[in-house]
């Protein structure tokens, strides 16, 4: 699903396919496979301020490393996770990712993707809209996520529980 199995150069198509595939794993609740898409020091970030530049010195909704993502996934799967009884489901509808950078030298492949995201649980349903930014890198011959950043269009509005991943 992801890039350059044969070790060749990364193409724009690889990068775009990666972004689509990443969202699909979330829709299909394949969280462990999703986690594998992150680089060793990959991060998942949802800023809490508009045009935010710093994830730790400015308030973020989420800024997680692989370990904390793993905790979250394990929690979602947990037998005593009552906020997942019943469990949540989600769907992503992505505009075609725009390739922002294909920088082989810097090992950085970046995309920008407007999205529509719906999270549902029981008879409740909430939708979210914004822009996903992926900063990908080659690691072990495969594309991995260095940073996935989600900017919500209404990031300053109050939200109820957001339990899954956008």
């Amino acid at each position: 699903m992801s890039a350059s199995g044969a070790g060749g150069p990364v193409s724009a198509e690889d990068v775009i396919a990666f972004v689509y595939a990443e969202a699909r794993l979330l829709d299909e609740r394949r969280y462990e496979d999703w986690l594998d898409l992150f680089a060793g020091d990959g991060r998942y970030w949802i800023p809490a301020e508009w045009d935010q530049t710093d994830p730790v010195m400015q308030p973020s909704l989420l800024y997680e490393d692989r370990f904390m993502l793993d905790v979250r996934i394990r929690r979602l799967r947990g037998a005593r996770t009552y906020s997942q009884k019943p469990n949540s489901r989600c769907v992503h509808v992505l505009q075609q990712p725009s390739v922002e950078a294909m920088d082989e030298a810097a090992n950085s492949y970046r995309t920008w993707t407007p999205f529509h995201y719906v999270e549902t649980r029981s008879d409740e349903r909430e939708y979210f809209n914004g822009w996903a930014r992926h900063d990908l890198m080659l690691e072990g011959g495969a594309l991995k996520i260095r940073l996935k950043r989600i900017d919500l269009v209404n990031l300053d509005a109050p939200f109820g529980n957001i339990q899954l991943f956008m």
């Binding site: 949802i46 809490a48 301020e49 730790v56 010195m57 400015q58 308030p59 973020s60 909704l61 989420l62 800024y63 370990f67 904390m68 793993d70 905790v71 979250r72 394990r74 929690r75 947990g78 005593r80 996770t81 009552y82 906020s83 300053d156 509005a157 109050p158 939200f159 109820g160 529980n161 957001i162 339990q163």
Partner: protein
Amino acid sequence: MQAPAYRYRNNPDAIRALVRPREVHRDVYIDEEVFQLEMEHLFANTWIYAGHASQAPKPGDFITCEIGGQPLLISRHTDGEIYVNYNRCAHKGTRIAGEPCGNAGKMFRCPYHGWAFRTDGSLLSVPLRKGYDGTGFDDMPMVRGLAPVKNFRVYRDFIFVKLNDGGPDFEAFFGDSLSTIDNMVDRSPEGRLILEGAPLRYMHRCNWKMLVENQTDTCHPMVAHESSAGTAVKVWKETGRNDRHPAIELLAPFTSTYKFYEEFGIRVWPNGHGHTGVTNSIHADYSEIPGYWEKMAGGYGEARAKAILGDIRHNTVYFPNIMVKGPIQTLRVFLPLAADKTLVESWTFRLAGAPDQLFARTLLYNRTINAPTSIVGHDDLEMYERIQTGLRADGHEWVNVQRLYDEDEEPDATVVVNGTSERQMRNQFNAWVRYMTMDMTGDIMTGDMEPGAAMNPAPAAGAEQRPAAR
């Protein structure tokens, strides 16, 4: 032959009957009429947190908020002082300021017809004022400008407001509980806090009091947060790593034992205030922040600095609706929107003169525990929402608060008790009854029942008078 529809309005006995020594009636959480009366009485008779003066440092700066359903406008005037007014044009009622905060320049100009008010709220100018000549303009309340909120107090930059004239004065209301705010401010080497960063805003479909009670509910973390903190600790152990993970440092204490909580104690103060973590706290074992101790010792001397930093109170509830975490420098406001709707805003403070890293930890704590994306938050909100719907069950209409109840316990004492006691919840409900009923008439045909009164957020009686006293 019809029955009257009000059950609690102007009926202090009915309000009192909702609170028993060991349990409270579900209507305190689910009844919309009780909620409305909370807005009119409880939130008008007590001192409510409205904002922080560091949000409006310069003349013309303003912040807006709502208390008890009332839109307020807090501004810093050219005299350098804070003023609080109703956010409502004296002409036709337009909300003057539309944003959470901003700078109005030299005046507030109403966007509808251009009436202008000074930054203390007084009337500056009216376009085409001659149109009021001979109409008795000066007899009308609008000539005085924006309607002021008379009773407010800026305590170490924390702005508290009391909408009604009655009720206790500020010191009498808070008493010794101010020590938590003091400690939080003192943790700045310069003795000053700066509110910084957008608040995390988290919508809860439950009654606001469930959240407040949860702040000192020490018997839930090991159960309710097993899924978040418990999982985090377990997964961390599986990694076999020896370093400290900043999130684990914050999450692990949520898995503390009953014994830990029993021993760390709860202190209750009169008027519904109280805090957990008297002798110990889940915030005790955090890593050192390089450079911070030096600054503190430099600023206060070692002994005083040690005393300040040694006071590691856990959660301090300022009745009715905020919680302060001194060692973490956060303040959570539980904004009541309806009987079953509460907006939680979690704010962060930077300690003036302290290293950046301390503020980074404050932000980390806030997003890890207080965000709508927080796994700890998910655990708690699930409980509140389940209670909000569960309470509809008729089989048993009372909510229990009797853990470590002692029939001799005094209602308004300052005392330290076992940390798993529900004493602080009882303390809150004691204050709740007092401030709900203190200005409630028992006569259904008098008082605020005149036309034009009552159903809207606050009683009309005396409303005209209030702005008169600028």
